[in-house]
């Protein structure tokens, strides 16, 4: 076979890239929401919540994403739940990334100095008010760099969804290479596209960090 890279191939790659973005968005939103709940559960007053969320995080962090994807797709199918690759991939990525978000954010929340809690408590704020009005706004600032950094991981990790037959960017490249046999060219293009997705996010994180630092140092116009 062989042949040259043409516009159809590029369009196919573009499709794959869109799916990579779509999967990333699912992983980010699903994993983020679930991860936020996990982070709160990890520091909840109720021991059972702390214990359950801690166990979940340990379990998932000790399992390769590849295995979670296999379990979600082939495993569930074997016991009668037939999930589409999209649903299986979205659910697996949510389950997996939530564990990491939960742990990252727990650390951020806990790194807000304890006297901040006490000052808020002394003013009579309830635990929920202390968390949402005093601690989380400060934790978000702390959490921004690691969260954005991890978003880059999420994007790259979506390439694993190819193992359950999901045609995202990496899999699209593989398919094209199977017909063109130009691995260096094609995988270089793939790498470039991943870079094009990830680099702006890293840049954004640095800009956000700077703007937040400034916003704190400058009076807000009345």
């Amino acid at each position: 076979m062989g042949g040259d890279l043409n516009i159809n191939h590029l369009e196919f790659l573009g499709h794959g890239a869109l799916w990579t973005l779509g999967l990333s968005a699912m992983a980010l939103i699903g994993g983020g929401l679930f991860g936020f709940v996990l982070a709160l559960a990890r520091i909840a007053p109720a021991r059972a919540l702390r214990w359950a969320s801690g166990g979940y995080i340990q379990l998932i962090q000790g399992t390769p994403l590849l295995v979670i994807l296999f379990l979600g797709y082939f495993g569930l199918a074997a016991i009668g739940f037939d999930l589409s690759p999209l649903v299986a991939a979205g659910a697996s990525l949510t389950i997996y990334n939530a564990a990491y978000f939960g742990e990252i954010w727990r650390g951020c929340i806990q790194s807000v100095p304890k006297p901040q809690w006490e000052a808020a408590e002394g003013l009579g704020l309830s635990r929920t008010q202390r968390m949402f009005k005093v601690i989380l706004p400060q934790a978000i600032r702390i959490a921004t760099p690691p969260t954005v950094g991890f978003t880059v991981q999420i994007i790259k990790n979506t390439s694993l969804a190819s193992v359950i037959g999901f045609v995202e960017l990496a899999r699209a490249g593989q398919i094209i290479n199977n017909s063109l046999f130009k691995p260096f060219l094609i995988y270089a293009i793939i790498a470039l596209i991943y870079f094009a997705m990830c680099y702006p996010i890293s840049r954004l994180s640095r800009r956000l960090e700077r703007r937040m630092a400034l916003g704190r140092a400058q009076p807000i116009p009345a």
Partner: protein, 245 residues
């Protein structure tokens, strides 16, 4: 309880952290409008006593009553208790993500459900009290230590507490900044605010306190008017005063 005029009263309060006995039968009471200074060596239990009054720590035995709230009762209404008590710490602890005004209006708005406009005029009023009207829209990190501590006092005052607790509020400040904070506290005292303050400023305690409690090894070792500082009855206080100045 026994003394109906007391705003704060502790009776035989015991508190340990693990094997460490920190409060060993502490009793004292503070009447309305009274200023009490707690002095003593580092580690003698002064902060712990204040923290027990505001229920940051639970006591092992004894009773604490504040404005009619039984603080040692597990069912005590914490929200109501904290509205009656204002507490200011050594390390100011302003909320860094909020302006001075937002720091002050946060609790009145979210705890007392005061309307925004009313809370803002309250903020102006308490900031005037501490001489910081012009810092309304500043962020804490734009203020000096002394200004931050005054803003923290204003934040507590905005909840209109019946008693103020101060824990070494000038200890983190450069010497030239302590005066402005002490002046604010003096003005509060002159206004008739009931106060319990832990302080290392012996001269200030002498000048402002109606009563002085000297704590030593978790006990009230000596208590009385400011006179006890010039004529200590116990060798421990004599030694403390000798080194304290």
């Amino acid at each position: 309880m026994s003394d109906p005029t007391a705003i704060v009263s502790l009776k035989d309060v015991h508190k340990s952290f693990g094997p460490l006995k920190v409060l060993d039968g502490v009793s004292f009471s503070v009447a309305r409008g009274e200023v009490m200074a707690i002095i003593g060596r580092s580690g003698s239990g002064k902060s712990t006593a204040l923290r027990c009054i505001d229920r940051f720590e639970r006591i092992d035995s004894g009773t604490i009553e504040v404005c009619g709230h039984r603080v040692d009762d597990p069912q005590v209404d914490l929200k109501a208790l904290r509205q009656d008590i204002g507490i200011v710490f050594q390390s100011y602890n302003l909320f860094p993500h909020l302006t001075v005004e937002e720091n002050i209006t946060l609790a009145p708005c979210s705890v007392k459900r005061v309307a925004k406009a009313e809370a803002k005029s309250l903020a102006r009023q308490v900031l005037a009290q501490v001489g910081l009207e012009d810092k309304l829209n500043s962020y804490p990190e734009q203020l000096s230590g002394g200004q931050q501590q005054r803003a923290a006092i204003a934040r507590s005052l905005a909840m209109q507490p019946k008693v103020m607790l101060f824990d070494e509020v000038t200890s983190a400040l450069d010497p030239e900044l302590t005066g402005e904070v002490l002046k604010v506290i003096e003005a509060l005292a002159a206004d008739g605010m009931t106060m319990v303050m832990v302080t290392h400023e012996m001269g200030f305690a002498k000048g402002i306190a109606d009563r002085i409690v000297f704590m030593h090894r978790g006990k009230v070792h000596e208590a009385g008017t400011a006179g006890i500082l010039s004529a200590p009855a116990t060798p421990e206080l004599a030694q403390f005063v000798g080194t304290g100045f």
